[in-house]
Subunit: 254 residues, 2 copies
């Protein structure tokens, strides 16, 4: 199972939107996809139409109860080929429960082995932090996608994240690759957005995906329908761009 | 010293932008203002023109070295009457250092007592989490401002934050008040933004500030100049709105 983490400690850069819509695009292209919601805010769960307050078991239960494999908490979504291991606020307690455990960085990697064997791709949505949870997601993944808003603050945190990825590669997961940096909230009309895009391509070159995601209100509306944008508004810019991103990702084999 | 926390675990809702610009507006109105950057991303530090990689001491040093009062790490900014207790990535280690300490929730409250006595207002910028750091900020504050983007995901997390504030009030800080909910990224042109605004006012009534902050590129540009928007582009919408917010805040006495 190809496992891709969507991570950046900068808040609001489009992690959840990218996780839900890449997963949606890959599922519509016929891949069997699992989304793991690894953020206590549970926005990927909500964005896929599942109410975190009314679900039975979540990812947290599977961590804290050895008798519950991940497969037992996974629920189907309204989208064919797309399932989710949901989260809720209880997940915020996992940080302190994992901290004293031996091998605490590998907890999610081990849990993913109990997801059942029918998924082609697993997409992990991370919370806006470089916490033990996010560390677990990086250790469990083959690749990581880094959404970066084309805004000033967005550039600052990137250095820290790249250093963290280096440390993970050296100490916990030698095969972790950066699948790409995804520029989000791109705006045709503002110089700031153009400047940041230019700086990112000059600085990071091929690490930056060709596909960029423009700001479009359809992407902000889709979560209220509990659907990836590709099903909510199939012909909008957001759908075209996430479809193109899925093609770019599939052409790079893990 | 009137202490106001800017908190919401939702990433990218405008916490730092609000902290920097309220502080700027109050300083320009003649108040002596201290900004405490309580986010390891150090965006408030950067937004006020200070490089987190080249400062001597930060808030973290003052926590971990009892000989260093907060006043010894505070630096002046380019703005008269406005100083900042800067942060950098080391602050992310504080969470684990504080966890085993007795009275760990009061650590920041105690530290603020060593800020020196010349400030009228202290504004604390929080990281996008409901961690022990954010808990410390809520315990140390008289009031809290909650920035909320007018987007679908923004509504979801509010319940958790309000519950957390209730717990803080019951167990650690009986006088903590919600100064207000600030609607950010408001857009005149989209139905989504109008709908969320309407829902927020229906649901939260007077808790929502009259002043709202519209999306404007000047607010995203100002951090690259290391200045509050009121000095970067004094006549733009962002400046008018943060000035109006400062008036609204000053008229409510703590
Ligand atoms: N390209 C886009 N155009 C317009 N709105 C967008 C776009 N991408 C995301 N959004 C909206 O912006 C907000 C932030 O995006 P999102 O929640 O995906 O970011 P995040 O990085 O997951 O945030 P957090 O750090 O809180 O986890 C959401 O309300 C989302 O609906
Ligand atoms: N009203 C606005 N109009 C346009 N851009 C804005 C506005 N408010 C904030 N921004 C920009 O949007 C981004 C997110 O804002 P900001 O960093 O203040 O949010 P935050 O809540 O502090 O994020 P984090 O959760 O990472 O701490 C920044 O790049 C900022 O410059
Ligand atoms: Mg998210
Ligand atoms: Mg911030």
């Amino acid at each position: 199972m190809r496992t891709i983490a969507i991570a950046n400690q900068k808040g609001g850069c489009g992690k959840t939107t990218t996780a839900v819509n890449i997963a949606g695009a890959l599922a519509l292209a016929g891949k069997k996809v699992l989304v793991v919601d690894f953020d206590p805010q549970a926005h990927a769960t909500i964005g896929l139409g599942i109410d975190p307050e009314n679900i039975g078991k979540t990812v947290y239960d599977s961590f804290t109860n050895a008798k519950l494999p991940l497969s037992s908490v996974i629920v189907r979504t309204k989208v064919d080929n797309l399932s989710v291991a949901p989260s809720n606020i209880l997940l915020s307690g996992l940080e302190f429960e994992l901290a004293p455990r031996f091998g605490r960085e590998y907890a999610l990697k081990q849990l993913l082995n109990t997801a059942g064997n029918s998924y082609d791709v697993c997409v992990i949505d991370c919370s806006p932090s470089l916490s033990l949870l996010t560390l677990n997601a990086l250790v469990a993944s083959d690749e990581v996608i880094i959404p970066v808003q084309t805004q000033y603050y967005a550039l600052e945190g990137l250095k820290q994240l790249l250093e963290t990825i280096d440390i993970v590669r050296q100490r916990f997961n030698a095969s972790l690759k950066i699948l790409g940096i995804l520029l989000t909230f791109v705006e045709k009309r503002t110089t700031l957005s153009k400047q940041v895009q230019q700086q990112m391509r000059e600085f990071f070159g091929n690490m930056v995906f060709d596909t960029v995601i423009h700001r479009t209100v359809r992407l902000a509306e889709a979560p209220s329908a509990g659907l990836p944008v590709l099903l909510y508004a199939p012909n909008c810019t957001g759908s075209d761009e996430y479809r193109a991103l899925a093609v770019e990702i599939t052409s790079v084999s893990a």
